[in-house]
Subunit: 207 residues, 2 copies
Amino acid sequence: MKRIADSTVRRLSLYLRFLEDFEQRGLETISSDELAQRGGTTSAQVRKDLSFFGSFGKRGLGYSVPELSRRIREIIGLGREWRVIIVGAGKIGAALAQYQGFAQRGFHIVAVYDSSPEKIGRSWNSQTIRDIRQLEHDTAREKPDIAVLTVPSEAAQAMLDRIVKAGIKAVLNFAPVQLQAPPDVTVKSVNMAMELEGLSFALTNRD
Amino acid sequence: MKRIADSTVRRLSLYLRFLEDFEQRGLETISSDELAQRGGTTSAQVRKDLSFFGSFGKRGLGYSVPELSRRIREIIGLGREWRVIIVGAGKIGAALAQYQGFAQRGFHIVAVYDSSPEKIGRSWNSQTIRDIRQLEHDTAREKPDIAVLTVPSEAAQAMLDRIVKAGIKAVLNFAPVQLQAPPDVTVKSVNMAMELEGLSFALTNRD
DNA sequence: ACATGTGAACTGCTTCACAGCG
DNA sequence: CGCTGTGAAGCAGTTCACATGT
């Protein structure tokens, strides 16, 4: 299969959200143009995005909402449950563990880790915080798919190395640092500091 | 000035982080190649990024760490204090309000708002949570520069409209929805759901 | 000799425009 | 006729390669 651009995958996520909305309202079909307007893009872009994966529409009519919804879910891989661990039980970790949006889309938190003795053992939103030293042992047995990394910046790279060595192939990083990982491991970063600086730049450099 | 790509600004943020690190260690000069390796890019990319804003290096030598550091801070607009409000005192809002990285880079939280009567009036990390109904009134007086939007998805667009009408020109959105704003208002979104789905896609579609 | 700064070449994403099909 | 699907054109961001300055 041809390599798919990151931006394409992001838009598919977006389309799916709209489709689920339409689905709930009982709409049967939708055109590329309607999807485009909602998503702030163009109809050609929508059709091109979908065309990488097949021909899901009916000419002269548009797309079947339930079918397209199903196909996109399939493409993104939302048909199954993903097993997620959270590494770092700080403020952000806490917010994430309690975030309902995860479970709704099939991302199931199976463990939370920390290194601080005061936190280990404490119960936390139906999870007991585990000792980070158990990471390798647990991972071998429980085979999580995704690790969410919410440790301090200084510790992030070392912890990522452990996660990679433990065999996890997908990481969502919240530390504001650039991480190095082997090519078979996908790392996505959420970097608020960088976004804020982007706003600072926009405010500073406008006509 | 020519329009600067988003990716360029993000890399400048990244370079700045490395430069601050080098500065602390007392290093005097750095080459584009060293910056590139740290940032996972190429030396040509680094030089091109900087060239949009001027010629800061010395041929045959590299860049002065303190000078380049200063110049990038100036470019991004980190020379001043930015006044930030947080709209929505939920879990994410809480994590952000206590996040030290903000203040360190000159983003100063001047107010926190919520609509829930149980939350309003409660003290919170040296801020008292204010009634969202005060938003317009306060904004007229206190002139915040940036609003961080951490309200539920359903409320996000309506709240953004209020924020825009109140005259704020930069918004950092945490709701997993596509927001519409006039072109003179910059909106950046942090969308964990989308990043997670990107990981799901990567795990699903690999050889 | 060495590393910057920058036009030129390249790569890849987006937009166009229209043939194809219901 | 309307809307999809898609090659071709256009555009933007990245990489190359070398002239330039120290």
